[in-house]
Assembly symmetry: C2
Homo-oligomer: 323 residues x 2
Amino acid sequence: QKRILITGGAGFLGSHLVDRLMLLGHQVTVLDNFFTGAKTTVSHWIGHPNFELVRHDVVNPYMTECDQIYHLACPASPPHYQYNSIKTVKTSFLGTLNMLGLAKRTKARFLIASTSEVYGDPEVHPQTEEYWGNVNPIGPRACYDEGKRVAETLTYGYQNQNNVDVRVVRIFNTYGPRMNPFDGRVVSNFIVQALKGEDLTVYGDGKQTRSFQFVHDLVDGMILLMNSDETRPTNVGSSDEFTIGEFAELVREIVEKVQEEDGSKPAKQCKVIYKPIPVDDPKQRRADTSRAKESLGWETRWSVRMGLEEMVRYYKAKLDEGN
Amino acid sequence: QKRILITGGAGFLGSHLVDRLMLLGHQVTVLDNFFTGAKTTVSHWIGHPNFELVRHDVVNPYMTECDQIYHLACPASPPHYQYNSIKTVKTSFLGTLNMLGLAKRTKARFLIASTSEVYGDPEVHPQTEEYWGNVNPIGPRACYDEGKRVAETLTYGYQNQNNVDVRVVRIFNTYGPRMNPFDGRVVSNFIVQALKGEDLTVYGDGKQTRSFQFVHDLVDGMILLMNSDETRPTNVGSSDEFTIGEFAELVREIVEKVQEEDGSKPAKQCKVIYKPIPVDDPKQRRADTSRAKESLGWETRWSVRMGLEEMVRYYKAKLDEGN
Ligand SMILES: NC(=O)c1ccc[n+]([C@@H]2O[C@H](COP(=O)([O-])OP(=O)(O)OC[C@H]3O[C@@H](n4cnc5c(N)ncnc54)[C@H](O)[C@@H]3O)[C@@H](O)[C@H]2O)c1
Ligand SMILES: NC(=O)c1ccc[n+]([C@@H]2O[C@H](COP(=O)([O-])OP(=O)(O)OC[C@H]3O[C@@H](n4cnc5c(N)ncnc54)[C@H](O)[C@@H]3O)[C@@H](O)[C@H]2O)c1
Ligand SMILES: O=c1ccn([C@@H]2O[C@H](COP(=O)(O)OP(=O)(O)O)[C@@H](O)[C@H]2O)c(=O)[nH]1
Ligand SMILES: O=c1ccn([C@@H]2O[C@H](COP(=O)(O)OP(=O)(O)O)[C@@H](O)[C@H]2O)c(=O)[nH]1
Ligand SMILES: O=c1ccn([C@@H]2O[C@H](COP(=O)(O)OP(=O)(O)O)[C@@H](O)[C@H]2O)c(=O)[nH]1
Ligand SMILES: O=c1ccn([C@@H]2O[C@H](COP(=O)(O)OP(=O)(O)O)[C@@H](O)[C@H]2O)c(=O)[nH]1
C-alpha cells in the first residue's frame, strides 16, 4: 500500500486512474481546482478511508507526505486551455515546479502527464520519443504545447540536479466514459452529436489524422510506467490511425448500431458537415509505441470499435437520464 | 525623456543599451542580480541623477513606475545557463511573468530579448521569424531554449489577454567589448586565447556555422524595435555566415594584425586545436533579417572585421592592465 497523490484527479483521465489505484488498495489523495473536472467523477470514493479529495490550485505550493505523485492537473481540450492561455501556461509551469519541489522534499517518485502535442504538427510520422517536434511557440496552441515542453524541461532538470525520480508519459488522444461531453474534443463532440441526431462537425476537409486509445489502456500504461525503471519520455497511445472524416463515419455507424439494439434508431441519418479548421491544427498524429512495448511490455487491448461502443452506451445512458 | 527599466542591465548587452539610452537623456533603472553581469559594466553612470542600479532577482516580483521595459535578465552563455538549469528556466519564466505583470499594471511597453536559439538546430536556413524551430525539449540546452520559447508564449499571452504592448527581438550571436572574457562563448574564447598565445579551441570539426553581429548594431535594432509599431517577433542579427573553423582563422589573423601594429607580435603563431562538440550544438545559423529591414529600416553597419578589431583592442587593453 502506497500513499499516492494525483493532481487533476477529478478530471477525465485522473478519475480513471483514481479508480484503478483505489481498487489496488492504495491511499489516494486528489488535488484539483475543478476547472474542467468535477467532484462527481470521484464521488463514489468519498467517505472511503483510503481516499481524500482536496480543492487546491497547483499554481500554489502544497505540502503533504507521499510515495508517488501522478501529476495530471492541466486543462487538456483546446477550447478549455485557450479560454485563459496565461493561466494554462502558469498551471503547466508552476504546477509542475511545485510538484517537483514536493517530490524533492518527500523523495516521492514523480510522473508527469505530458502529451503528443510536444510533437506539434509533426513532420516525422509516426512519432517516436526522439523526435524534437514542430510547435509554433506563439500560436493559439502554444500555451498548452510550450507549457508541456517546458514542464518536461523542468522535470529532467529536477532529475539531473536534485536526483528526483521522474517518469514522463507522452499521452496521445484518449477517449472514454467521463470525458466531459461539452469539452469540445472530437470524440465527445461526434458521439453527442450523433446521439442527439445533430450534424457531425468535421473541421477542415477531414483529412487530418489522429489515433485514439481507450482510457483503460492509457491507465495501464501510466501505472506500468510509474512502477518501471524507464525514466525516458514514453509514448502511450494507439497506432490505429484514422482520418477525422473516416472517424466521423465510424462513430455514426456505431451509434446507429447501439440505437438499433435499443430499439431507439431514429428515422433519419445524421449528416456530416464541414467547419473551418482551427489554426495550427496538426495534420497527422500516430504514436510509435516501441518503447512502451519494450520497456513496459505495454500494448493496447481495446480496439477502437469496442471502446467507442462502451463510450456510446455511457453517453446514451447519461443523455437518457437527462431526458 | 522616458522612464526606462532594463533588467539584466549590468550584463554584456544590457550595459551597452544603458549607455545608449543614458546618452539619449532617458531616466534609466537597471535591475540585476549580478549572476553573470557586474557593477563595473555600468559603474561610469553611478551617481548620475538619471541612473539607478538595483540589486534584484527577477524571479521575485518588483514594483516601480515606468514607460518602457527592456527585459534582458537571463544568463546567455551555455556554460553559465547550464550551471544551474532549474534557475535558468525559472529566470526565463518567472522573470518574464513578473515583468509582464509590471507592464500590465503600469501600461509600460515591454520588450523581451529572445534568441535565435528558439530555432534550435535549424532545418530551415537562413531562419525567418515564421520558422517554428527544431529544439530538443529535454537536452542540455533546453533550460535556455525552452525557457525563451515559453517566455515568448507568455509575452503574446499578455498581449492577447491583457493588451500589454509587446515587442519581441530574436537576437542572433552578438559580440563586442564587455563580453565576459571567461563566459565560454566562442568570440571571447578565441580572442583571449589568441592574445595569450594559447591554442584556439574549435569544438567538433569546425564546420558548424554562425553569423556574428557587433553589439552596436544590435542596440540600434533593439531601440528601433521598441519605438516602432512592429509587434511580431523580429530577428536582429548578422547574415554574414562563417564556419567556426574559418572564424578561428579570422580571429587569429586580426589579433596578429593588432599585435603587429603595437609591436607586440609574438614569435610563434598560435595553433587551432579540436575539442569534442557539445551535445545538441546547432549545425548552422544565419539570420534572415528582411523583417527588421522592412519594418525598422535596420541594417548592420559594422563588418565583422571592424567589430573584431575593436573588440581585440579592448581585450588587449584589459589584459595589459592585468599584467
Ligand atoms: N485526454 C487526452 O487525450 C490527453 C492527451 C494528452 C495529454 N493529456 C494530459 O492528461 C492530463 C489530464 O487530461 P484530461 O483529459 O483528464 O483533462 P481534464 O480537463 O478532464 O482534466 C484535467 C484536470 O485538472 C484539473 N486542473 C486544471 N487546472 C488545474 C489547476 N491549476 N490546479 C488544480 N487542478 C487543475 C481540472 O479541474 C481537471 O480535473 C492533462 O495534463 C492533459 O494535458 C490528456
Ligand atoms: N549575447 C548574445 O549573443 C545573445 C544572443 C541571443 C540572446 N541574448 C539575450 O540577451 C540577454 C542579455 O545577454 P548577454 O549576452 O548580455 O548576457 P549576460 O550574461 O552578459 O547578461 C545577462 C544579465 O542578466 C543578469 N541576470 C541573470 N539572471 C538574473 C536574474 N534572475 N535576475 C536579475 N538579473 C539576472 C546577469 O547578472 C547579467 O547582468 C539575455 O536575455 C540573452 O538571452 C544574447
Ligand atoms: O513540499 C513542497 C516543497 C516545495 N514546494 C514548492 O515547489 C517549488 C520548488 O521547490 P524547490 O525546493 O525545488 O525550490 P525553491 O523553493 O528553492 O524554489 C517551490 O515553489 C516550493 O514552494 C511545494 O509546493 N511543496
Ligand atoms: O467537433 C470537432 C472537434 C475536433 N475536430 C478535429 O478533430 C481532431 C482532434 O481534435 P481534438 O480537439 O479532439 O484533439 P487534438 O487536436 O488536441 O488532437 C482535430 O483535427 C480537430 O480539428 C473535428 O473535426 N470536429
Ligand atoms: O508591478 C508589478 C505587478 C505584477 N508583478 C508580478 O507579475 C506577475 C504577474 O502579474 P499579473 O498581475 O499579471 O497576474 P497575477 O499572477 O498577479 O494574477 C505576478 O507574479 C506579480 O507579482 C510584479 O512583479 N510587479
Ligand atoms: O571555445 C569555443 C566556444 C564555442 N565554440 C563553438 O562556437 C559556436 C558558437 O558557440 P557560442 O557558445 O558562442 O554560442 P551558441 O552555440 O549559443 O551560438 C558553437 O558551435 C560552439 O560549439 C568553439 O568552437 N570553441
